[in-house]
């Protein structure tokens, strides 16, 4: 069953085409890794999918409904941003932050359950700003999960996180997908991790140049090489510009 369907998605900023005619669909319980170099349009794609950017042509459907027509789908979507952004001295405990994601009349017990799911229960009374970035990112996952989403969208969530926390983070994602049947849409630079975790891959560089089963992508040396070259060129370009 298709839970997300994107057709001919094009986004233009002044002088730049950020996404060009992108079309693909996501099946229920997929673990989709979206890979692409910096500036490939991954964040733009997510901001359109989450309704934050409505200046696009083409269409995006969640659960069969056009997101331009209804925002109901947001109740079934959890989102974890690239970095946990908030005022450093914000006086809120981990529990309070997670509770923000709880639906109106949601069950308070869910807060404890998701805190345990992401291994952060013992920190629930700490102020959010006291935690490491890796721990904060787990709090943001818990906040996304507490509303019982059917789909979890993660935008390069391990950027700036140490290796140990990254491993823990990946383990949590795997469990959510396999045990709780949550569809995961995950943007990442980490090809090895995508190879290990995702069952589907979408390779994006403003236009979609691959979408399919993970094994198919990683067994095709030409595709992997093309991705790596494209990624390296962008990296070098950014490096020279900076």
């Amino acid at each position: 069953m298709k839970v997300v369907e994107i057709k001919n998605l094009t986004v233009e900023y002044p002088g730049v085409r950020a996404l060009d005619n992108v079309s693909f669909s996501i099946e229920q319980n997929d673990f989709l890794g979206i890979i692409g170099p910096n500036g490939a349009g991954k964040s733009t794609l997510f901001s359109c999918m989450l309704g934050l950017n409505t200046q696009y042509s083409g269409s995006i459907h969640f659960f069969g409904e056009d997101i331009r027509v209804t925002k109901k789908y947001l109740g079934d979507v959890g989102y974890v941003p690239q970095k946990p952004v908030f005022e450093k001295n914000f006086p809120a405990t981990v529990r309070e932050v997670v509770r923000m994601g709880l639906r109106r009349n949601g069950n308070e017990k869910r807060v404890d359950e998701v805190l345990q799911d992401v291994w952060i229960h013992e920190l629930s009374h700490k102020r959010i700003g006291e935690l490491s970035v890796g721990q904060q990112q787990r709090v943001f996952i818990a906040k996304a999960l507490v509303g019982d989403p059917k789909i979890l969208i993660l935008d390069e969530p391990v950027t700036g996180i140490d290796a140990q926390s990254t491993e823990l983070f990946y383990g949590i994602l795997c469990e959510l997908n396999k045990k709780q049947n949550i569809t995961i849409i995950w943007a990442s630079h980490d090809l090895d991790a995508v190879n290990k975790l995702a069952n589907k891959v979408a390779c994006l560089d403003r236009t979609l140049f691959f979408h399919g089963v993970s094994d198919e992508f990683f067994s095709n040396e030409e595709l992997v090489k093309k991705y790596s070259e494209s990624s390296m060129q962008k990296h070098m370009h950014n490096h020279v510009e900076s």
Binding site: F86, F90, P91, H125, G147
Partner: protein, 286 residues
């Protein structure tokens, strides 16, 4: 003598109104401070100066014109800020200076400064009437109920706008609501400390409480405690020593802040050790 002052009607009204205003300012002010909008109260208060001057000039009760002018200018400046991507501090500066400028022009047209204008500039809590007290209590009740009903939406949109939007919270509406509530709170509070010192009530107790509080609820309760105690003690001291209540209230807030800074500097404040359960009133809203 000390207990006798509580038997005076004007003192009872001053204390009741002052406590209500302190409660309101600390709760609304916490959202403003955390949104980096600390001087918004100041800007709205200054724009109300134009409204008060207009009321005095045309012979309408100045508080009514102050409410209208402050709310309209606060909402307009918020719209301009969003539409033209002007920074928060710049929009505050525009609101603040235009309010004072309009007020000065209207005052000069009405023959210059008088006692009425001065009481609005510096506050006159000891002169508050029964009608004003009822209005202050009514508005405090309504605003606190609205905040409690929309607690999750307000705290979430204050914590992270983008995340709140993705969770389906109408962030733009929440922003307007906060501005609207802040506008009403500012004008209601003018009688306590006056236009010139109003932002102190919004900012100082909250900045102090943030240094102690571990949770949002705890911080809000501490802020209320600091603001209410400053108001009660300030009004009593001002009566006993015959000094201005507004200045005394603000200086007491500053004193609590200064002691907190000192304790923090000595490493004696650790919000991770603040007991969460003991200060909990209810778990319903957190």
């Amino acid at each position: 003598m000390t207990l006798e002052i509580f038997s005076y009607g004007f003192m009872q009204r001053a204390l009741v109104s002052g406590i209500a205003i302190a409660l309101l300012c600390s709760v609304v002010g916490l959202f403003l401070v955390l949104r980096r909008y600390s001087l918004f109260g100041d800007a709205v208060a200054h724009s109300s100066f134009g409204g008060i001057a207009a009321g005095l000039l045309i012979g309408i009760y100045p508080m009514w014109t102050a409410y209208v002018v402050s709310l309209v200018s606060a909402l307009v400046i918020t719209r301009i800020k969003q539409k033209f991507d002007i920074s928060g501090e710049a929009s505050v500066a525009i609101l603040l200076s235009s309010g004072i400028a309009v007020g000065l022009i209207l005052i000069s047209l009405s023959g210059g400064f008088n006692v009425d204008i001065l009481s609005f500039l510096f506050g006159s809590i000891l002169l508050v009437s029964v009608e004003d007290t009822v209005l202050i209590l009514g508005l405090t009740g309504i605003i606190l109920i609205v905040i409690l009903l929309l607690y999750r939406e307000l705290i979430y949109s204050t914590f992270n706008e983008e995340q709140a939007k993705v969770s389906g919270i109408p962030v733009e509406k929440m922003n307007y609501l906060i501005v609207f509530i802040a506008g009403i709170t500012v004008v209601t509070s003018i009688q306590l400390v006056g236009i010139l010192l109003i932002s102190a009530l919004f900012v100082i107790p909250n900045v102090t409480a943030i240094m102690y509080g571990r949770s949002f609820k705890q911080t809000a309760l501490l802020s209320i405690a600091f603001a209410v105690s400053s108001v009660i003690v300030g009004i009593l001291i001002s009566y006993l020593f015959d000094i201005t209540p507004s200045g005394t209230i603000v200086m007491l807030s500053v004193a609590i802040f200064a002691v907190t800074i000192g304790l923090k500097w000595m490493g004696l404040i650790d919000h991770s050790k603040m007991p969460l359960k003991k200060l909990s009133l209810s778990n319903h809203f957190i």
